[in-house]
Amino acid sequence: MNEAVRETGTQLVKRGLAEMLKGGVIMDVVDAEQARIAEDAGAAAVMALERVPSDIRKDGGVARMSDPEMIEGIKSAVTIPVMAKARIGHFAEAQILQSLEVDYIDESEVLTPADETHHIDKWAFEVPFVCGATNLGEALRRISEGACLIRSKGEAGTGNIVEAVRHIRAITGDIRKITQADNAELFDWAKKLQSPLPLIQEISETGRLPVPIFCAGGIATPADASLVMQLGAESVFVGSGIFKSEDPAQRAQAIVEATTNFADAEKLAKVSRGLGEAMPGLEIENLETRLSDRGW
């Protein structure tokens, strides 16, 4: 009998893992213990990083890829996929993360950018990438560079959902408009969004982004998760919102259940009860650094 030839690193395989993460919660964790709490609570994946965004904001300085030892520790602590962050444009960090066999790389504005013009050429990697976006043009540029999953950026480490809502609405709103555009208008959309025409044409036919769209940045409560899921996100990333709250294990499980039952207000009311204090929130206008402005 002929043996099957295995093809690895294909778009189908890379985008496929993003499909498997849908309807789930991806949680930021800084050590193996937090990773186990996240997995216990039902996280679909964890993001291994040295400091959660709210601490990066507080500490200042340059934020970089995490120590490989810490990433290995988290990998061996859990059975679910492990993601890790590389700086924007820092392809050497991404190469290291690939060699560590992380399951997804987040080319992330939460870390300090390494290149102010170029993002990583993500086609050059076998491991899939997720990238942030504040609008549809940014999302499509990242997809054209090879990203297999887009997350709206929000404003990480603030516990304030307002920017996440702005970004997910900007992306889904423009998608809706493109589905109404005629062929001549599609050229103008490509020019306006500084994005490749074939991707614009694909959206006009399918009415959706070519890859899954998740939401990140500012999610702190079960209701926040429900809000962005109802606005069109297919999963949520929760960073500081869990481990900077009073009772991380309980809040993590509540956000997982809220993401599954995002349209069921009764269930949401039930899981929102008695969770203790959420993470302290920040006003966007008082921020010194806006992480979501990073990326081009």
Binding site: V13, M20, G24, G42
Partner: protein
């Protein structure tokens, strides 16, 4: 033909699309009351720890178990196969599968994401190969004597059937080829 798709977490929307194309009516299952009027069920890919955990906390597990024992036809893909298996190797200690089909599976038995792959599969009864997409896929380490193996990769079963339960290590919902969904619907509705 009302076919439930367990929509706790994972690639449930892609299965729903394939079911519609095959002429069935998909229903998303998020709680026990949704299970009441389905004639068959798909448990999708996703994370098996998350799906089993939510099945328990949202009160779906017991009813699901009863219905499967009463003969509800089920297709489980990837994580769905893990959920339906008899025993999980390399899983979490507290991961307790439903035991609906007599197979033992190793979680991520084909490796992490970098080892995820696609390959042409020869499936019993199909005239042309089926494109199998394997994502952090579970490896079937043992299939009991009542289990029919419909496809294998390098000697390991990747498509199994026992009575009205079907399981795949790969993701038929990710390729535009409805043959496995059609086969499942035939199996599910053959006698009724």
């Amino acid at each position: 033909m009302k076919v439930g798709v367990l929509a706790l977490q994972g690639a449930f929307d892609r299965h729903a699309q394939e079911l519609s194309l095959a002429g069935a009516t998909p229903l998303e299952i998020r709680g026990p009351k949704h299970l009441e009027d389905v004639d068959a069920l798909i448990i999708p890919g996703g994370e098996s720890t998350t799906i089993l955990k939510l099945a328990e906390s949202l009160g779906v597990r017991d009813l699901l178990n009863d219905q499967i024992q009463d003969g509800l036809p089920v297709l489980g893909t990837c994580a769905g196969m893990i959920v339906l298996s008899k025993a999980i190797i390399d899983g979490r200690d507290d991961q307790n599968p439903l035991g609906s089909i007599d197979i033992d599976v190793r979680r991520n038995g084909y490796g992490r994401q970098l080892a995820s792959f696609e390959a042409d599969l020869q499936i019993t009864g199909f005239e042309t190969p089926f494109r199998g997409v394997f994502i952090r896929a579970p490896l079937v380490e043992r299939a009991g004597k009542d289990v029919e193996v419909l496809a294998s990769v390098e000697g390991n079963p990747v498509f199994c059937r026992q009575e009205k339960i079907m399981t795949t290590s790969f993701h038929p919902e990710l390729v535009s080829d409805g043959r496995i969904h059609e086969l499942f619907l035939e199996l599910a509705f053959a006698s009724s």
